[in-house]
Each structure stands twice: as C-alpha cells, then as structure tokens.
Symmetry: C2
C-alpha cells in the first residue's frame, strides 16, 4: 500500500514531463470517423485459437544473431524482451533451448517412470498425473548461457540477443515430492535424475533436498498445456535454477545415492575458475537485472520524458530493490518495483527519466532477499575465469545513449 | 506462509488417496526407448511465434452452443475454462465480445482523443501513449452476460458455455488519471465517455470517480500488444466492472457533467427488477465462483481421488474464502485458495475429493473482502426479476455427478 501511494506521487510528478511527448500531436482534437468505424469488422469463427495482429509480426522469437549453428538440432531461440511489458511471457514467445530439436510426443502414449532407490517403481500416464493435487506458481526461467556472448565487449545489439534466454511463466503441475512420496523414497536416495524423451536424452542430477523443496512436474504453462518446444506433454521445473536442469519431455525420474556426472555435468554446464579449475553443479541463477527499455537498437525520439523499465530476478528468493544509474554507475537511484513481487519470479522495475539530449549510460543493479547484490563483470572476474563463452553471466548490463538518441550495448565499456 | 504449510499438509493427506488413480498403470517400470528419442525433432526456424501442440486442437474459444446469431457481426466467443489451470488465460483463448466484428486498425494511423470538459483537448498517437509511465495489473475480465442462458434450468452443457465469458489477464497501460490530468479536468466533469473505433461505435459512460481510481488505458495483455479481437491497438480497462464498459479500439474519451444514456445504457446492459422497473448503471461484477473441474461434460473414471478446482473473483475486491459443497449445499468445507490473491483478479481454489461412486452435487460459494457472500439463484430472485436472458448472473453453479461418473449442469435442480 505504501508502494502504491508512492507510485501515485510518481505519476503526479512525471505526468507533466511526459506532456512534452504529447505536445507535438496535441491541439483541439479533430475527430474524423476512422475507416474502421465505417464497415463491419472480422466475424468470429466457430472455434478459434487467436493470434497477434499482423502489425506485430516483428515481435517474434529469434535465433542467435551472434552464434550460428552449422546444424539445426542443438539450437535456441530468444524472447523479445524489448517488446514484453509486465512479468509474463506469452507462450508463443517463451525462449527455446534443445539439444536435438523438438520431439513430437503423443500424450496418450507417453509414460513418466519413477524408479531407482524407491520402494515401488511407478509409471504414470498423463491422465493419471493430472489427477494429483496441483499447484500453479509464477517463476522466471533462464538458460545458464544467457549473455554468454557479451562479457567483456559487445557482440549482440539488442536485449533479445543479450538477455532473451529468459522468460516469465505461470507453471502448473504436481510437486515432485508428491510423486516421489507415492513411490516411497529409500533413505539412501540423495540425488534424483531427470531424463527427457528427446533424441539427445538430455538428463541432469538434482539433489534430493531441492527436489523435495520446490521442484514441480509440470504439464501446463500460462493457462494451457505445455507448448511442444517447452516440453509437451510433461517436464520438470526446478525453480530458480539454470534452465537446462528443468528437463523437458520428461520420461523418467531415477533416485540414487550420488550424482550421475553426465556429459551435461562435466563437459557442459560447468564454469571455468582461476588456475584451470572448473566449477560443477553451479545451478542457482544468481540475482540479476536488465533494462529492457531503452535498450540496444532502440532510438530515442529526442529530449524529453522516457520511462526506464526492466526486469529483475533471483534464483535465491525475491527481489528486494533495484537501483538504476543514468551515468554509467557513478550515481544510483532506487527504482519503483511493481507488485506482485514473488519468489524466484520476474519482477518489473521502473523509473522516470527526462533525457536532456546529452550522452548517457543506463544500467540497473538488483538486490535480492538474501542481501546479495548483482555484481559488475569486473567483480565476477575477481572470482571466476572469464574467457570465451562462459555461462552464468549475471553482471550489470550498461546501455549507452548517444546525442542522436541511439541506444547501444556498452558491456565492457562503462 | 501459514497457507503454504497448510498446503503441504494437504498434499501429505491426499497423496495416498491419489495413489488409487495411479495403481492401474503402476508396477516395475518398463522403460523402452520411445520413438521421440530415436531421431532428431523439429529444428527452430529463424523467427517464430509459437503455437500449441496439434494434440491440443480441442482447446479453443467457441461461440455459444445455445444462442446462435443470424448474422455474424454482433457475436461472442468463450474461453475453455475447463482446460485452463491457474489464473491467467492465454491470449489465444481470451473470450471475445463485439457488436460489429473485429476492426483492422493500423496503429501508426490511430489517434486517441481526449475532449469535452477539459482545459486542453489532446490527441495521442500510439508512440506518444506508450511513453507515459505504465502499470501492469492482473485483473479478471467478465462479460455481464456471462451465464445468461442458465438461470433457472440447464441450457448449456460445459463450463465454457456457462461461464466462458470470463478470462484472467495481466493488463499493461497508462492510468486514465494520468492522461486526464494531462488534459486538465474541468471541475464540472463528473462522467467520462469511452468510445470505440469499431463500426458499432460502442460507447459507455463511466463515473469520474471510478476513472480516476483505477481505470487504465491499455495497449498490452499478458506480455504483448493487445490482440485484434481484444482491442488492438488501445482499449479501456475498468477493473472489476462488466466487460463491455472496458471499451475496445478506443478512439475518444470525453468528459461531461452527466452520463450519456446511450442505447448501451438504456435498451442494453440494464437489469429487470420487480414491478417492471429496470436497474441502470449496474456495472460492478459481484463476487462469484465456479468449479471448472469436474464440470459439465466431463467424465469421471470411476471412484477414487479427484482434485476439485475452480475460479473465484469479485469486482469489489479480493477473494477472502471459497467454500465447496459435495452434497448440493447441505454441507460446506473451506477450499484451499492459491496465492497470489490479488484485487479484482481470478483466484484459484482447490479441494481434494475421494469419490465413492455415489451420485453427488458439487458447488462452490465465494466470499470477498467486503464480506459479500456469493448467493444462490433463489436469493437473487428475491431482489431481481429473472425472466429471459438476464445479465449479472453471479449465482452458485451446481454440477451433478451420476453413478456413471457423468458430470452435468444442475442449475435450478440443486
């Protein structure tokens, strides 16, 4: 409530500034009857699943502009965060990442098995699974490779390319704990394998403690069944952890007394550290934020009022605060953070800005409920080895604005 | 937090019951390699807006099964609530209602005018509008005609047909107050006209007090620009009030000292009362709930555990509690209400049920933060005249389950 009344004050203060943007087209309003009001529009078909306006065709997932694959099966597409308001990504725009393409799985034939160190192995048909007590939870979903092309100098131009392996989803499913308790966990069971039914048989080992805490076996996203590319008909969701551990097209859950040390846990999804060491099982996505507007590739229309807005999130909890700098990190002001602020969920921040036409460098810095502060890349470099396409990039992202109003990726330059 | 631990207990209690559903397909798990794991799947195209699985083609908006229009332009489509988990409706399934079809409006040419009792008439291009400080808010959206075919006896078979003029949306836009303050409100201004750019020139008069309180001028829904059928490129959203006052394809906002008494406020969107009187400007959608599963047209697969789940909402505030009856209203138990519980927003409730195979009548009853209790139709009849297709039906919805497990609409019969 205190936040809301602060917000009201914020409007009062900024509305007059925003007027500058409107004055150009203001005046005694001419009200010609538009063409749309002169003839009936499109009627409703008998049954329909709707699509966006043809005028929004530029809003689409896109593959990497920087890393082009030689073959198409291990690939990813990125969410156009510059076009996404709020904290939910429409399902048609949720990013994809898979190692052997999107499989075609008939839900009537699919089975999810639970085996290993359990008292009673089980196999669930989808019709069985959806009868269990369900939960729906808002969580961010981020690939550990988000930002890997842009550590020390700019490679990508837009926020879709720098940060678009990130989406916000309302997941619906059954707690993994419910299904494991149904099978009966052997006391020796400390690690849990999740394996997909895709051609890469992608699999990961997750500690039992995390699985019992908040892992979900998910069949729906944002109010409908999973999309094929996001795991249809069933997937794991491991809240706040790197996206690839939330195994899609889930076909088995196996309980063991130790991790599997799969290729995806040794050759991949590990992080280089100083002195040639590699960090393994670094699965929590640490606190991070990015300004989505103004962002790379956008063009300001001259001096005047702009709303700076972006997203903040943390795999360790809730967002406590977001600071924004307009001068490359010399001075910071606290942004307004929009309710609801949920655990391990995208959080929207906003701050009003009257641009005077001089060059500026915009950046954001988030703090989570554990007190962890999003670091600059230089700080990350003190603890880790940054060379090549390194994962887990949660460094501060600067965007530069030049005197022409052109916004550019300024990573490594601010 | 108390709610969450209660939820955990709920799982512990019900999981064993749910086991009944799984036993049929349980056993030592056979793990044949599925066809999907034997060859690469679909690669990612260069740019793409995703669509649901082909196996989910039955999940679509549908026109009324009961009222068939003779012409197609004044029509509606309904949300398949029986297939929607959580509290968000995917944009492709958000219900439609329009009086002259969906217009095709080029956002680059569209203007929104503010005039009448204001100090400075203004006209906003879309590019101007989106620069104002924005807000994103989760709200339910419901047509006042939702349920009008099913007051005293069953006419519709499914919850899509009885309650599907209802959706849950994260709206993004500019507070109407911001734009009106920009134009400067004349102190005589007490009512505000919103008029659409469609061929019906649909318009409504809204009290200034409500407009300044929480009305939004909206350009995005669920993380992307409005869909054409839901008002692209800009619409009003009047939270908690009947859907038709949230005028779509908005082209002008006019301030006056009195309401307009338009056809949509005299011949339509009024409610018959006893002694031949009619109630006008009854725009708040009162507290309501419905069980979405099990619901009409569904088939239980024999005795055993089922999760009863549904939606509750109120135009007057938040949902405080939802009670569920399994015996046609003789006994009630309190359902679990899932967080987050937001103002004027869909709220999901759940309760475990072990069906013994005997006939049952399931119903839900919501209470909102004002203390208002959702009434039975018989109670509504004491205050209003129910004859024909009467609007504002927030009565309790019963679903009967027979010994075969067939679920049917039991309105007027329980």
């Amino acid at each position: 409530m205190a936040k809301n009344s602060g917000r009201r004050d914020f409007f009062r203060k900024t509305a007059a500034l925003a007027g500058g943007a409107v004055a150009a087209s203001a005046g005694a309003a001419p009200l010609p009857v538009p063409p749309s009001a002169q003839e009936p529009g499109r009627p409703i078909p008998e049954a329909m699943y709707g699509m966006p306006s043809k005028y929004e065709a530029h809003v689409a997932r896109r593959r990497s502009d920087v890393l082009k694959n030689r073959q198409n099966w291990s690939d990813w597409s990125m969410t156009p965060l510059q076009h996404q308001p709020g904290i939910i990504t429409p399902n048609g725009l949720v990013f994809e990442r898979h190692h052997a393409g999107t499989p075609d799985i008939d839900p009537a034939k699919h089975r999810l098995a639970i085996h290993g160190l359990v008292k009673q192995p089980l196999a669930f048909a989808m019709d069985d699974l959806v009868r269990y007590p369900s939960v729906s939870r808002f969580h961010f979903h981020e690939c550990s490779g988000n930002g890997l092309t842009d550590w020390l100098k700019p490679a990508s131009s837009t926020v879709q390319q720098t940060h678009g392996l990130l989406s916000g989803v309302l997941w619906t499913g059954v707690p993994a704990a419910t299904l494991l308790e149904e099978a009966g966990i052997d006391p020796r069971g400390k690690w849990v394998l999740f394996e997909g039914a895709d051609a890469s048989a992608h699999a990961r080992s997750i500690p039992m403690e995390k699985v019992l805490d908040d892992a979900l076996i998910v069949y729906a996203m944002n109010g409908e069944r999973l999309r094929p590319e996001n795991g249809y008909p069933v997937r794991a969701v491991i809240p706040g952890w790197e996206g690839n551990v939330s195994v899609k097209w889930l076909r088995r859950i196996k309980v063991s007394d130790q991790p599997w040390h799969l290729r995806s846990e040794t050759a991949r999804y590990t992080d280089p550290m100083p002195e040639g060491k590699w960090r393994q099982f670094s699965m929590v996505m640490e606190c991070k934020s990015v300004i989505t507007s103004p962002s790379g590739g956008q063009q300001l229309k001259g001096p005047g009022f702009y709303e700076i807005t972006g997203l903040a999130w943390s795999g360790a909890g809730r967002i406590r605060a977001v600071d924004v700098s307009l001068d490359g990190g010399r001075n910071w002001r606290e942004a307004m953070v929009e309710e609801p602020i949920m655990d391990k969920c995208l959080t929207r921040f906003k701050v009003g800005w009257t641009w005077d036409g001089a060059p500026a460098v915009l950046m954001s810095r988030a703090v989570d409920s554990t007190g962890y502060v999003q670091p600059a890349v230089q700080e990350i470099q003190k603890a880790r080895a940054i060379a090549g396409f390194v994962q887990h990039h949660n460094g501060i992202q600067p965007w530069s604005v030049n005197a022409k109003g052109e916004v550019r990726n300024a990573i490594g330059q601010a």
